[in-house]
């Protein structure tokens, strides 16, 4: 089983890197891109786990290590 963890800064937290990327895109002419938020993506390999177990384990490590709950939130997808 694989778990995919997407970590992003909370909406209330300013993202200087995302902001710089947005500005670069505007400079390149992509005025249709209103905003960019940069995040992190993790792929966890979890052999022998059911979907529920994989989700529970991924949530635990996301909460304890992959994301800092003070500034970040995360979303998890589970599948093969």
């Amino acid at each position: 089983m694989k778990a995919r963890v997407f970590v992003t800064l909370k909406p209330s937290v300013f993202d200087p890197q995302g902001n710089t990327i947005t500005e670069a895109l505007h400079q390149m002419g992509y005025s249709g891109v209103e905003d960019v938020r940069q995040g992190k993506y993790f792929e966890l390999t979890l052999p022998g786990k059911s979907e529920d177990e994989a989700r529970a384990l991924a949530s635990e490590v996301a909460h304890r290590l992959l994301a800092n709950p003070v500034i970040e939130s995360y979303r998890i997808e589970v599948g093969e």
């Binding site: 209330s12 937290v13 200087p16 992190k40 290590l65 800092n68 003070v70």
Partner: protein
């Protein structure tokens, strides 16, 4: 009296701290590897600056799980003085020994320069010799020193007088151009509720001798020596 200076893979101010404690202050210090599990009877702990574990994932995120951090946490919770400088501050935040988190500097720029910080509170082991409002010229060197805490936490920090150092102009006044990284409330350093754990982004250990540009940082380390001496250690 003994200082323990924790060395993580990627620490690079451990020897600056060691030099400041031993050669400048004439005190005993021991470098303690992050995989060690005890602090060798130290009376004060320094988590030094650098890039522990290459700043992978987030600054301080991996280091906080180093074996030595359990001993540091017990040491801190027993009320003993702990100071985290720069990366050490980031580790204390990740470890939950201090509230809040660090974000990338607002200008996306790594800032390496002298700044001025105002001592906001003198009732911590690391500011006891300072006068209230004293301005210290100390260098910074960081890319992620933009202190963040949610509005409730910030309000509590201010109400409990846990903001210990604030970025200011040389004359001691606050101004947006004196804040090098976008930190909330111009925060350069804070302490925990019990006031024995202090974290700050500027490097007092690099400003202990005038030939190096400033000796304003010495009072931070001298303060903890004084605090411990008063307690007979």
């Amino acid at each position: 009296m003994k200082f323990a200076i924790v060395v993580f893979p990627g620490s690079n101010c451990d020897h600056d701290a060691y030099h400041a404690v031993t050669d400048v202050l004439g005190r005993q210090a021991e470098l303690v590897w992050h995989k060690d599990t005890d602090l060798r009877g130290a009376d004060v702990v320094i988590l030094p600056g650098g890039f522990a574990h290459g700043d992978y994932l987030r600054t301080g995120a991996i280091a906080r799980f180093s074996p030595i951090m359990e001993a540091v946490t017990r040491f801190a919770e027993a009320g003993n003085p702990v100071i985290g400088i720069c990366n050490g501050f980031q580790i204390l935040l990740e470890a939950g020994l201090l509230p809040g988190a660090m974000l990338r500097n607002t200008g996306n720029k790594y800032r390496c320069e002298y700044v001025h910080v105002r001592v906001e509170q003198t009732d911590t082991p690391f500011t006891g010799l300072c006068s209230p409002g004293q301005v210290l010229k100390i260098p910074i060197a960081h890319g992620e020193g933009n202190y963040y805490a949610d509005p409730e936490t910030l309000a509590a920090l201010e109400a409990n007088r846990q903001v210990i150092f604030r970025y200011v102009r040389p004359d001691g006044t606050r101004a947006p151009d004196a804040n090098p990284n976008g930190s909330a409330n111009d925060i350069a350093g804070i302490c925990n509720a019990a006031r024995n754990v202090v974290g700050l982004m500027p490097h007092p250990e690099r400003a202990c001798e005038s030939p190096l540009g400033s000796e304003d940082g010495r009072i931070v380390l001298q303060s903890v020596v004084e605090a411990l001496t008063t307690h007979g250690r």
